[in-house]
Symmetry: C2
Subunit: 340 residues, 2 copies
DNA sequence: ACTGGCACTCGATACGGTCGAGTGCCAAGG
DNA sequence: CCTTGGCACTCGACCGTATCGAGTGCCAGT
């Protein structure tokens, strides 16, 4: 299985050429475009070995070679150098948040920026509630029996929920409720709140007991348990580049997958600190996305991670460039968030 | 010019068959599938006239006929009967909001419902701020120099904006500000607020003057002037049905258009009361959407309109069915909103 | 171990012929 | 005058054949 250096060079050359031209690459073209220092025949022998090992394959006999998912994997792991960003990209990234204050704004700009730079589908997860702490809880009376619960997290996320009270509450009641929940929950991480909320209900003065109970259930159910994740998406039109050659002609399954938030979360939500994930073709768990690759990473202020972001494209993508861009954007978003 | 009844029947038959089969329809097939009571030759003569008048055309000589945009237009205006909803559709619509409390929830369910029922791309505009009144304005202190402005509209929309104060404000200051803005703006329509906001700044006590000024500018700029519209989209995967036959093979321009909020707004945002708009192919102002048709209408509680919704699909769509569905969903959403 | 040569494969392209759906036109008939 | 059957014509779809060329695998020679 020893793949000597030249064979690896050949694989690298194949990947690079195929990504660039989108056409199967043959031995002759290869030696012409790269200085391999050997003849086409030698390259052919190397190719035969690479094919036997499953790194490349022939679409048809008498066609050039195309990298397999396994080939891309090897390329990504061992053969690609980090491609430095172009000055233009660097500038675009640095400029993307000019005038962005709101978290919404930051996320939207980020996802568009990613889509534009990579020319692929970009996905950005809002800072996860699971990794957020409560900065403030606000109760806004809508009517005597309706409250708007507004939660502001330290990550900048703002969520509101309508609370339908079992009985009318006075203005003073609302003030008391607000004080109580903030005393108990302010500054606490959301994942730590369940027992605290439980205690809140039990310790509430009898007059507020039932109101507090409904409030608590809204808090727990919608903000903690099914910890609502939000996701922004952009660049789906990029799927339709490459004139139907990628994705064997049908965008349908991919577009379908992209409409499922659960799937998007799976793609970019499970991230380890300081890691960048590349899932190539078959490595994807979602069947509809077996023809695509996903490059994702986590982001957050400083070293902590509050959410994930990434891009999705054809397996035949410019991995070094994409990886560099995703990493740079993630780092930059983290810096932006740190400033708040 | 005079298109007698039979010619119209022929046109109707052509449209119906073409929509159903997606293949050019010939004279013989027509008389077989519909009881026209005449021979193919007669139908051919009628077809020749219809073609001369621009209602149908031949993809190639010796192929069947296909409706033109103009043909669809005539069909929609004069030839199609309203198709009653199937019981299943009726049930789906009535069930779509079970458990929906939040406006967000209602909008998301609506857009998914529409996409599912029509099997096309669905677009739903959130209730427009331009048509909303202020129910309540809340100011939540984040730090001494930062406030979160939360506006709750009568339509259920909730918007928040970060306000960066020029100088620290005490808790009492915030309370005063909150009281002042609510006194002045509570219940007012958003479009009527500019002069009121102006007055607010002028009448504010000196100590609050500068804080009120920044608050006012955030209010005016982000909520009134560039009256932020929000839009939900679903069903883009449906574009990829019809095996690339519609849209002459490239989804790209359409997907691109769908990523622009401005364009979506144009599509469904300009609605007259009690009207349902059908824009067919060329009638669309947006170049990228010249190959699509859009069926849209307004919705709102009772007779008022607070926003638009609609669907987008190939010109070759089931107009009667789509129109019926869009109308029914819009009416139902209106009812739901009226209950709040 | 590399290289040049060579026979071979097979997709892409072009060409020719057939088939059939569909048309337009016309003359005959109600 | 409208309708109809008949008929010649068009042209895309389909199929088989032939050619071309990019690319391969193998082998013998250095």
């Amino acid at each position: 299985m020893g793949l000597d250096d030249r064979k690896l060079d050949v694989l690298r050359a194949i990947v690079e050429d195929y990504v660039a031209t989108q056409e199967p690459v043959g031995s002759k073209a290869l030696v012409e475009r790269h200085q391999l220092g050997v003849s086409p025949a030698t390259v052919r022998n190397d190719m035969a070995v690479l094919e036997e090992e499953g790194y490349i394959r022939q679409p048809h006999t008498s066609a050039g070679r195309v990298p397999t998912d396994r080939g891309y994997r090897l390329f990504v792991d061992r053969l690609s150098r980090v491609k430095p960003l172009t000055p233009a990209e660097r500038r675009a990234i640095e400029r993307f948040l000019v005038g962005a204050v709101d978290l919404d704004d930051v996320v939207h700009r980020t996802v568009r920026l990613l889509a534009q730079l990579t020319r692929q589908v970009a996905v950005v997860q809002y800072p996860s509630l699971a990794r957020s702490s409560v900065r403030h809880l606000e109760l806004v009376p809508i009517s005597t029996t309706r409250l708007m619960l507004v939660m502001i997290a330290d990550t900048g996320r703002v969520e509101q929920r309508l609370v339908e009270l079992p009985a009318p509450a006075s203005a003073d009641d609302v003030i008391d409720l607000r004080r109580l929940v903030n005393e108990r929950l302010g500054g606490k991480r959301l994942v730590d709140t369940p027992p605290l909320v439980q205690a809140l209900v039990e310790e509430a003065p009898p007059a507020l007991r039932s109101a507090m109970a409904t409030l608590a259930s809204v808090l727990l159910e919608t903000l903690v348990e099914r910890h609502e994740e939000r996701i922004a998406l952009a660049g789906t039109a990029n799927l339709a580049r490459g004139g139907l050659l990628d994705f064997q002609g049908s965008l349908r399954p991919i577009l379908e997958a992209l409409e499922e938030e659960v799937i998007l979360l799976k793609l970019i939500g499970e991230v380890e600190p300081n890691t960048l994930q590349v899932r190539i073709g078959d490595e994807n768990e979602i069947d509809n996305l077996r023809a695509t690759s996903v490059v994702s990473t986590g982001y957050g202020p400083g070293a902590t991670i509050v959410g994930g972001l990434g891009v999705l494209g054809p397996t035949r993508m410019d991995y070094p460039g994409t990886i560099a861009t995703v990493r740079a954007v993630a780092r930059y978003v983290g810096d932006v968030l740190a400033q708040n």
